[in-house]
């Protein structure tokens, strides 16, 4: 796999995870923390994919 392929995989995981985990999770006190965690990791996946995309564009 090259950097473009890896970025595509990570973007795909991010998209599917965002769709599949969109609902809250029970108690609001846990749901707020859950949503922060979910958003943080969607952003993290996006960051990883973006770095690889920069490399991909450099190829």
């Amino acid at each position: 796999m090259d950097a473009c392929d890896i970025a595509d995989v990570l973007d795909g995981v991010r998209g599917r995870l965002e769709t599949a985990t969109g609902e809250g999770c029970g108690l609001p006190v846990a749901a707020a923390g859950y949503e922060r965690m979910r958003q943080a990791w969607l952003a993290e996946l996006a960051a990883h994919a973006a770095v690889l995309r920069e490399a991909c564009d450099g190829q």
Partner: protein
């Protein structure tokens, strides 16, 4: 799921407690009927929904795992051709580490969601049983056979049964909220591990964010069990915004300073100073002072503690500790500020190494004078004084603080407070904690959280110490914090959930 589930569960708990206190033979039937009405609200949460979320995270972990080795195999210089080869190597290495952590984080999220689902399913099962038993007990006491008439012979039985069943229901609802707090602590821990994403969300270039996120404080003898990033996750998020807010010329000058840095560690501390809000002139002088220094010098001079694990925290052979019995709070404040601001830390560490202890003591005396304008210094520092001092430095920390009492005889109060502490710490904000016995006696500073443990800085010994969350909840902190009970916390306002209060006693 209803947005006010938590409030409903709290209300049910309150009403059940009232019902229990009012339970007597005269009001038995009416009070029991009121309790029955409260029990129409089941413990909140949907186990099936939680398990579906867990499955989604488990799938994501499996989907990312195969690409970890592929990132390791990329050839950096050819790929990130726009930047120097050494930097390209750093970008590849940091990206590989970041991608490798992802499946572990997703599996941890899945486990937390499954455990919460199991707890809620069990709570609902117990709730159904108790509710049914209470209904049958009321029916027995209000019917003779199938005839609706009070049964005096059954009233004694109902009295005993109702008290036991209401107590059981109180336990179920208490457990429901404790389970939510525990899940929230895990989610906070995981959110704090998404460091590169925080940087990009704040406006950093992705490659810069990934490399900066990987830079940690490294003091010999201190591990990496807790997040000890040079920039906390809050600072990574703030850095891009601070750069954007700078005048164009200042931003260009900062860019020049960053380009001239000799190492990623030097660059990270320089950008930490940017995140702390220092103006361009101070940044230039700071950059000159630290330019070309090796990593050991930078870590020793630009932080007061290493948040990576349990260890004696010293600088140049001197412990970072309180200099008299009344400055535990003061010392916690100084460490909290130094963790946010490398220029402040340098102000204490720069100079003759043998003079560090003297400089730290002088700063402790100065800060104690500032926090105790009226209050006698030999009585320590009030939580209000602690919060006020933190708020005087909110431009550096990026947040404002408030304090509130913790009733650790009440499981709900202490569980909620623990959630506030770990959420703040995982977001990169240290939390002063007031502990004591019968009266408040001592401050420690929460600086880390991982899994079921907190990491606190204990200013009497000048050490970072691992504290199991269970000890915080159970009031058993004596061995690690000097006193058993949590009595107040000083938390960022975004994470505060309690009420402010007043103090009759102050700690040392």
């Amino acid at each position: 799921m209803a947005s006010d589930d938590y409030g409903q569960a709290s209300t049910v708990l309150l009403r059940l407690g009232e019902a229990l206190s009012l339970l007597n033979p005269v009001k038995l039937v009416s009070v029991t009927r009121k309790a029955q009405r409260q029990l129409r609200t089941p413990p909140p949460g949907n186990p099936e929904e939680l398990r579906a979320l867990a499955e989604a995270f488990r799938w994501a972990a499996a989907a990312v795992r195969p690409v970890v080795s592929e990132v390791d195999a990329l050839r950096p210089a050819e790929l990130w051709s726009g930047i120097a080869a050494s930097s390209a190597t750093q970008v590849r290495a940091a990206t590989a580490v970041a991608v490798r952590t992802t499946p572990r984080a997703f599996l941890a999220a899945a486990t937390a969601l499954d455990e919460l689902a199991d707890r809620i399913a069990e709570q609902r099962r117990r709730h159904d049983e108790l509710r049914r038993a209470l209904r049958e007990a009321v029916r027995d006491a209000t019917h003779i056979g199938s005839v609706p008439a009070p049964d005096p012979a059954a009233l004694d039985d109902l009295m005993r049964a109702a008290a036991g069943l209401i107590r059981g229901c109180i336990e179920v609802y208490t457990d429901a909220m404790a389970a939510a707090d525990e899940a929230a602590a895990v989610f906070a821990d995981l959110a704090g591990r998404a460091r590169a994403g925080a940087g990009v969300s704040g406006g950093l270039d992705p490659a810069d964010a990934v490399v900066l996120a990987a830079q940690c404080v490294r003091i010999r003898g201190v591990g990496d069990d807790y997040d000890d990033g040079i920039l906390t996750v809050a600072q990574l998020a703030r850095l891009g915004r601070q750069l954007d807010a700078m005048p164009v010329l200042d931003r260009a000058n900062v860019g020049t300073l960053v380009d001239k840095a000799r190492s990623d560690t030097e660059r990270a501390y320089l950008l930490k100073a940017v995140a702390a809000g220092h103006p361009a002139g101070e940044l230039a002088a700071f950059a000159t002072r630290i330019h070309g220094r090796d990593d050991g010098w930078l870590h020793d001079h630009l932080s007061l503690i290493d948040r990576g694990g349990s260890a004696e925290q010293d600088r140049f052979g001197f412990e970072v500790d309180q200099y008299d019995p009344y400055t535990c709070g003061t010392t916690s404040l100084i460490v909290a500020r130094a963790e946010a601001d490398p220029l402040y830390a340098l102000g204490l560490t720069d100079g003759a190494p043998h003079g560090f202890d003297e400089r730290l003591s002088a700063e402790q005396a100065r800060v104690h004078d500032t926090t105790n304008l009226v209050y006698p210094e030999q009585w320590g520092t009030t939580p209000e004084g602690m919060a006020d001092w933190m708020n005087q430095h909110s431009a550096v920390t990026g947040t404002s603080y408030a304090w509130h009492l913790v009733d650790d005889t009440g499981r709900r109060s202490v569980s909620r407070s623990l959630r506030e502490v770990v959420t703040a710490v995982d977001a990169g904000h240290p939390v002063p904690i007031l502990v004591g016995g019968v009266v408040p006696r001592h401050y420690v500073l929460a600086v880390g959280h991982s899994g079921d443990d907190l990491l606190i800085f204990e200013p009497t010994s000048g050490a970072t110490v691992r504290v199991p969350a269970a000890d915080f909840l159970d009031g058993k902190l004596r061995q690690r914090a000097g006193f058993d009970h949590v009595q107040a916390i000083v938390v960022p306002q975004a994470h505060a959930g309690g009420e402010s209060g007043s103090m009759d006693h102050s700690p040392d």
